[in-house]
C-alpha cells in the first residue's frame, strides 16, 4: 500500500527526517510513536503534500505510484487521508458543503457520478451516528468554534465519509478525554478492513489500547529507531523513550 524509502525532508534548510523507511501493507495498522520533535508530524504533512517541506532524498510509493509527484488533491483522490493534528477552521464554509464537494471531487476522479444531495445526507446521518455527533455540526462552518474534541471527531467523521484506502492519523488522541477517545477509536475500528491501511501517529500509548496496531515503530531524530509488535508500545509506556534514544545513539556511534 505505502512504501517509504530512505526519506529525507528539510524545513528551512534544517533536516527533520533523515532517511526514514517504512512499508505498510494492505490491511495493516501501523503506529508511529516518538518523543516531541522526532519528526512525526513532518512525516504526516509530507505524505499529505504540504509544500513547506522539501524532500531532499528518497521516495514514497502509494499503491505503486510516486506519491511525491502528486498534488495534495490527487493524493486524496487516490485514497490517502490525513486526520490533522490541528484541524483548520474555515469560516463561512459549512461542514457538509466541504464534505460533499470533497466526496464528489474524489468520485469524479474515479469516473463516478456525483452523489445526489439526498444520498449524501443519508450517508452523513449514518456516519454521524457512529461518532455520536449532533447534526448541527454538519451545518456549522468547518471547525469554527468547535471544541478540541469536536474537531478531532470531525476529522474522523470526514474519514468515515471519504472512506480512504490509507488513513494517517496525526495525534488524533491528543487532548481527548477517555470518552472522546473511545468514540474516535470506534470510528477508526469500524473502518478497519483487509483493504484499508492505517498509520496512527501518537505520542501516548493510551490510544493503542483502543486501536490495536499490528506494528509499532519508534521515531527518533528523523529515523525509525525501533520496530516491534503492539507490546513495544506498552514497553514505551512503562520505560519512556529514553532507552530507545540511547540505543539509537549507540548504534550511530558503533
Amino acid at each position: 500500500m505505502l512504501e517509504i524509502k530512505n526519506l529525507h525532508v528539510s524545513v528551512d534548510d534544517q533536516e527533520i527526517l533523515k532517511g526514514l523507511s517504512l512499508t505498510i501493507n494492505k490491511g495493516e495498522v501501523h503506529s508511529i510513536m516518538g518523543p516531541n520533535g522526532s519528526g512525526k508530524s513532518t512525516l504526516a504533512q509530507v505524505l499529505a503534500g504540504r509544500d513547506a517541506y522539501e524532500v531532499t532524498e528518497g521516495e514514497v510509493l502509494f499503491q505503486g505510484k510516486d506519491l511525491l509527484d502528486l498534488a495534495p488533491e490527487e493524493r486524496a483522490c487516490e485514497g490517502l487521508f490525513l486526520a490533522f493534528q490541528y484541524p483548520v477552521e474555515i469560516p463561512g464554509v459549512a461542514n457538509n458543503y466541504l464534505l460533499r464537494e470533497a466526496l464528489n471531487s474524489i468520485r469524479k476522479y474515479r469516473g463516478e457520478e456525483p452523489l445526489k444531495h439526498i444520498e449524501f445526507t443519508k450517508l452523513a446521518n449514518e456516519k454521524m451516528n457512529i461518532l455520536n455527533m449532533g447534526d448541527n455540526l454538519l451545518k456549522r462552518a468547518v471547525n469554527e468554534g468547535f471544541s478540541g474534541g469536536e474537531k478531532k471527531r470531525n476529522e474522523i467523521f470526514q474519514m468515515q465519509i471519504l472512506e480512504p484506502k490509507m488513513a494517517i492519523l496525526d495525534e488524533t488522541d491528543s487532548g481527548l478525554d477517555i470518552d472522546a477517545l473511545k468514540i474516535v477509536a470506534e470510528g477508526v475500528n469500524s473502518l478497519r478492513s483487509p483493504d484499508r491501511s492505517f498509520l496512527v501517529i501518537t505520542h501516548y500509548q493510551r490510544l493503542l489500547n483502543y486501536i490495536v496496531p499490528d506494528y509499532v515503530h519508534v521515531l527518533v531524530e528523523g529515523k525509525i529507531a525501533k520496530s516491534g509488535g503492539k507490546d513495544l508500545a506498552l514497553e514505551l509506556e512503562d520505560k519512556g523513550y529514553g532507552w530507545v534514544e540511547e540505543e539509537a545513539r549507540e548504534a550511530v556511534n558503533n
Partner: protein
C-alpha cells in the same frame, strides 16, 4: 443651457445662480430656503481635505478639480432593453428609473401596493406639494459638517419618495435604479431619496447605481430613511458604476422606538467611492444591522464611513463589513460608534474583515468609539489578511482541487455578508455580481 460647476472662479455659486432659473429648481419657498442653506454651507465648507479626520484616508482632489456639468435628461438614450439588463431577476417590485438623476416615467414600472402607500419621484412629490416632503426633507441628513450633503441639498433634482403609512406592510420592494449615461464632459447628479415609514410598518428599498457608458461622472446621493415605531425596513445599496465614476452616497436613518433596520451595501464599481451610513437609534429598543461588502481592484478607492449613533437606552447595533481588495486598490473602513449619555444598556458590535488578494492592495481600518454612558457593551474587531493557505491545503487534502479550494474560501468570505440579505432575488443578484467579479479576476490573471 448646461450648468457647469467648478471650484474655480466661484463656479459652484454661479452655477447655483443659473440652476435657480431652471425648471428643476422648483418654486416652493421652503425648498428654496433649504437649497440656499445647502449652498451657503457648501460654500463655507468647500470640499473636504485629508486634514479633516473623517476624510483622512480619502483624497477627493479628483472630484474637486473636475469641472462638472449638471446632468440633464436629454443627453444619452436609454431604452427599456437597457433597463431590463439591470433589473433584478425574479424580483417582483416597483421600479423607479432615473436617467442621469432624472425620473423617467416611461421606463419605470409599478406593482400594486397597499392603499395609501406612495411611491413616486421627488420631482412629482414636490410638484404635487406633498406636505410630508416639506416636513421631512433635509431634516435628518446634516449639512453642518457634510459638504457633499450640503451640495446635494443645494442641487438635488430628483429621487425616490416612498411613504408607507402606519400599520402597512409594503409586500414588494421598491427598486430605485439610477443609470448614468454620461457625456463628453464630466456630469454630476444629486439623487435625493426620502423614505418615510409610519409605525408598525415593513418594507424594503433597493438603491442601485450603474453606468451605461464609460465617462466621468459623479453621483452624489443622499437618502433619508425615517422609521416609525416598531417598524422593520431593509435598505440595499448596490453600487456598480463605471470605472471612471465617482460615487458619494449618504444613508441617514432615523429610528423610532423598537424599530429595526437592515442596511446592506454592496460596492463593486466606481473609481472613487464613499459610502456613508449614519443611523441614529433615537428611540428605546432599536436594532440596526449595518452590513456590507466592498470589492475593489485596479486603482479603485472605496471608503466606508459608518457612524452609528446610540441616542436611547436598550438599543443594539451590529456593523459587519467585509472587504476584498485586489490590484493597487485601496479600501477604508471607518466605524464610529457614538453612545450618548442616556443610551444605557447599549450593545454595539463592529466587525470589519479584509482579504487582500494582491501585495499592492491597501486597507485602512479604523474603529472609533465615543462613549458617554457608563453601562454599555461595545465590541470591535478588524482583521486584514491574505488568503489562508492553511485552509486551502486543508481543502485540497480532502480531494478538492487548488483552484476550487480558493474559490470556496473566497465565496465563503463574501457570503458572510451576503447571507444576511433576506430578499432572496436580491441576494442571488448580488451573489451573481460577486461571482462575475471573481471570474473577471481569473480571466485577468490567466492573461497575465
Amino acid at each position: 443651457m448646461p450648468i457647469t460647476l467648478s471650484t474655480k472662479d466661484n463656479g459652484y455659486l454661479q452655477g447655483y445662480g443659473k440652476f435657480k432659473d431652471s425648471d428643476g429648481f422648483g418654486k416652493s419657498a421652503w425648498l428654496t430656503s433649504l437649497r440656499d442653506k445647502g449652498l451657503e454651507r457648501f460654500a463655507e465648507l468647500g470640499f473636504p481635505t485629508q486634514q479633516n479626520e473623517d476624510w483622512r484616508f480619502t483624497n477627493i482632489t479628483p472630484i474637486a478639480r473636475t469641472d462638472f456639468t449638471l446632468a440633464e435628461k436629454s443627453n444619452g438614450t436609454v431604452d427599456s432593453g437597457t433597463v431590463q439588463n439591470y433589473s433584478i431577476p425574479g424580483l417582483d417590485c416597483t421600479r423607479l428609473v432615473f436617467i442621469n438623476g432624472i425620473y423617467s416615467q416611461e421606463l419605470s414600472s409599478f406593482t400594486t401596493h397597499p392603499e395609501n402607500v406612495k411611491v413616486l419621484s421627488l420631482s412629482e412629490a414636490i410638484g404635487n406639494n406633498e406636505e410630508i416632503i416639506e416636513e421631512h426633507l433635509g431634516r435628518y441628513a446634516g449639512i453642518e459638517n457634510e459638504a457633499f450633503t450640503a451640495l446635494n441639498t443645494a442641487f438635488m433634482t430628483d429621487g425616490g419618495v416612498i411613504v408607507i403609512p402606519g400599520n402597512t406592510a409594503l409586500d414588494t420592494p421598491v427598486h430605485l435604479l439610477y443609470i448614468s449615461t454620461g457625456s463628453d464632459s464630466p456630469t454630476l447628479t444629486n439623487p435625493r431619496n426620502l423614505i418615510i415609514a409610519g409605525d408598525n410598518c415593513q418594507g424594503a428599498v433597493i438603491e442601485h447605481y450603474i453606468s451605461a457608458g464609460d465617462s466621468v461622472h459623479l453621483s452624489n446621493a443622499v437618502t433619508e430613511l425615517v422609521v416609525g415605531e416598531n417598524s422593520t425596513i431593509s435598505h440595499y445599496m448596490i453600487e456598480n458604476e463605471g470605472r471612471k465614476s465617482f460615487n458619494i452616497s449618504t444613508l441617514r436613518v432615523q429610528q423610532s422606538r423598537h424599530s429595526n433596520i437592515r442596511s446592506h451595501s454592496v460596492l463593486l464599481g466606481g473609481a472613487l467611492v464613499r459610502n456613508n451610513v449614519h443611523p441614529v437609534l433615537a428611540g428605546e429598543g432599536c436594532d440596526s444591522l449595518i452590513n456590507g461588502l466592498f470589492m475593489s481592484t485596479a486603482r479603485q478607492h472605496m471608503d466606508n464611513f459608518m457612524r452609528v449613533e446610540h441616542a436611547s437606552p436598550h438599543c443594539d447595533s451590529t456593523q459587519f463589513y467585509n472587504g476584498v481588495l485586489d490590484g493597487r486598490s485601496r479600501g477604508v473602513f471607518h466605524g464610529r460608534i457614538i453612545v450618548h449619555k442616556d443610551a444605557q444598556k447599549t450593545d454595539a458590535k463592529q466587525t470589519n474583515r479584509n482579504l487582500l488578494l494582491s501585495d499592492t492592495a491597501q486597507i485602512d481600518t479604523k474603529p472609533q468609539l465615543e462613549i458617554y454612558a457608563d453601562d454599555v457593551k461595545c465590541t470591535h474587531g478588524a482583521t486584514i489578511g491574505q488568503m489562508d493557505e492553511n485552509a486551502v491545503f486543508y481543502l485540497r487534502s480532502r480531494g478538492i482541487g487548488a483552484e476550487a479550494a480558493r474559490d470556496i474560501i473566497l465565496n465563503a468570505f463574501t457570503n458572510e455578508t451576503l447571507q444576511s440579505m433576506t430578499i432572496e432575488p436580491v441576494r442571488e443578484y448580488c451573489h451573481a455580481l460577486v461571482t462575475d467579479w471573481f471570474l473577471k479576476r481569473k480571466e485577468a490573471l490567466s492573461q497575465g
